[in-house]
């Protein structure tokens, strides 16, 4: 679930909200396990468990029913459609969607309490897993990347087993699993919440402006970095999470590096590129991209190679930056950069 969806749920002023979570999928499903949709008492909709169409419609229908009735239910939905099959437009497969009613203001609701822990973890840039039963009695248990765990699934033995699976889910992603204890077997959904990708954008020009706008839609945080007060302004970057003016290499060095940090050099000026790259090439950031031609990229690598950086370290610089979408305008270049960041993050591009 994205930060924005968690925020919407925990801050909702609606008495009841139904949360639908994609817990398993076979065949083709365009959404990731853990994808969510919120259905509000007022009829509001947020998110989705599939890319839309008739499947989300079924989930909304079930959600509307559960707003009134309460409880928890597992929907088993076929993605096959006889007519669509005839014309070759069916997706095919099956999905399971866990639908449950929550009272956002009720802190005694185990899942609402768990989401408070999720918000805290994400605010501190830590991943966290929430374990909730798919069948049987309710409950919720969290496991934070820092090792802390809150809540319970109702049985100490089950909690211990669930924590072990949750630790695996922290690394590998959301999954459902059957957890067996002497008391029996339970099917549990392990919902992994990962902190947002942070884009560190060096160079407060036109491309950076488009990057901050698109990043907002992608639930990515943005930090604008420049040495020029006149460029790096709130007027120009109303959607940036942070605007930092100073020596770019020092600003970048002060940001805790992690695989969730993507550094995008769009200053197109060696005065920032070289000192920033010196800070980054040995830091464990997830993405380093630099605007410029292949020839310019080679020149920058050459200078840094002379300073002792290895080919492996220099190979981390993606230049020309972005997937080749053919666009030339600033928004089009920004789109190609974010496309590459997403591709790298999801392992589709090495």
């Amino acid at each position: 679930m994205s930060d924005s969806l968690i925020d919407a749920l925990t801050k909702s002023d609606e008495r009841h909200v139904v949360q639908a979570t994609l817990v398993s999928a076979s065949g083709s499903s365009s959404k990731k396990i853990g994808a969510k949709m919120l259905v509000g008492e007022s009829g509001k909709l947020l998110g989705g468990v599939t890319i839309g169409g008739c499947v989300d419609a079924q989930v909304i229908e079930a959600g509307d029913e559960m707003i009134a009735r309460g409880g928890r239910r597992l929907l088993d939905i076929s993605l096959d459609d006889d007519e669509a099959w005839e014309i070759g437009l069916t997706c095919g497969g099956n999905i399971e969607v866990l639908v449950q009613r929550l009272a956002p203001s009720d802190q005694s609701d185990p899942l609402i309490a768990a989401y408070a822990a999720v918000r805290d973890a994400l605010a501190h840039d830590r991943g966290v897993v929430v374990a909730t039963p798919i069948d049987g009695a309710g409950g919720a248990l969290t496991l934070d990347e820092n090792g802390t765990s809150v809540g319970s699934l109702g049985d100490a033995g089950l909690d211990a087993e669930a924590r072990a699976v949750a630790a695996e889910a922290l690394r590998a992603g959301s999954r459902d699993a059957t957890v067996t204890t002497p008391a029996g077997s339970r099917r549990i959904f392990f919902d992994r919440f990962a902190p947002a990708t942070t884009l560190v954008i060096v160079g407060a020009g036109q491309i950076a402006m488009s990057l901050t706008a698109f990043a907002r839609e992608l639930d990515m945080r943005t930090i604008i970095v420049d040495g020029r007060e006149r460029y790096a302004t709130r007027d120009r970057f109303p959607l940036a999470d942070s605007i930092r003016v100073g020596m770019p290499s020092e600003i970048v060095a002060a940001i805790a590096p992690s695989k969730r940090v993507a550094v995008i050099l769009v200053s197109h000026d060696y005065k920032y590129e070289l000192p920033v790259l010196r800070q980054l090439l040995r830091a464990p950031v997830g993405y380093i991209g630099m605007l410029g031609s292949k020839k310019r990229g080679e020149a920058v690598r050459g200078l840094l190679r002379d300073e002792g950086f290895t080919d492996e370290e220099l190979g981390r610089i993606r230049t020309p930056i972005g997937l080749d979408l053919g666009g030339k305008s600033s928004p089009e270049v920004a789109l190609s950069i974010l496309a590459e960041v997403v591709a790298v993050r999801s392992g589709k591009r090495a």
């Binding site: 040495g227 020029r228 007060e229 020596m247 770019p248 000026d269 005065k271 000192p275």
Partner: protein, 122 residues
């Protein structure tokens, strides 16, 4: 290759004194607001003599080369002598005039140094 160009490239590729100075007791930062050059000059001044001078910069080759030359030059100078450095020293040290429109890149370290000699580190 002109002497000017050779000096700039040499000091840009192998800048002298580009490092933080933890024992600094004088320092200043400067910036060229439109091109984005940024520099910090740190000095150690004992008994009115500059005993150490270092700089950090995210800046162009000309600015870094000037800062490199300047921090070498000021060691042993009095604060007043350092504050009196001007464009003539820059032209002499670089063995030529910066290209048109680039004078401010070369003068940024000089202007920053003039402020640094008077500015105690708090």
């Amino acid at each position: 290759v002109s002497a000017y160009r050779a000096i700039v490239i040499e000091h840009f590729r192998r800048p002298r004194n580009r490092a933080p100075l933890p024992q600094a007791n004088r320092a200043a930062e400067g910036a060229n607001p439109l091109c984005g050059d940024r520099i910090r000059i740190q000095l150690r001044v004992d008994d009115d003599t500059i005993t150490d001078a270092r700089f950090m910069a995210d800046a162009c080759a000309l600015c870094i080369a000037t800062a490199s030359l300047l921090t070498e030059h000021v060691r042993g100078l009095s604060a007043d002598a350092a504050a009196a450095i001007d464009g003539t020293w820059v032209r002499t040290s670089l063995e030529g005039d910066p290209p048109a429109g680039r004078a401010r890149c070369a003068m940024l370290p000089v202007d920053t140094l003039r402020r640094a000699v008077r500015q105690a580190v708090t």
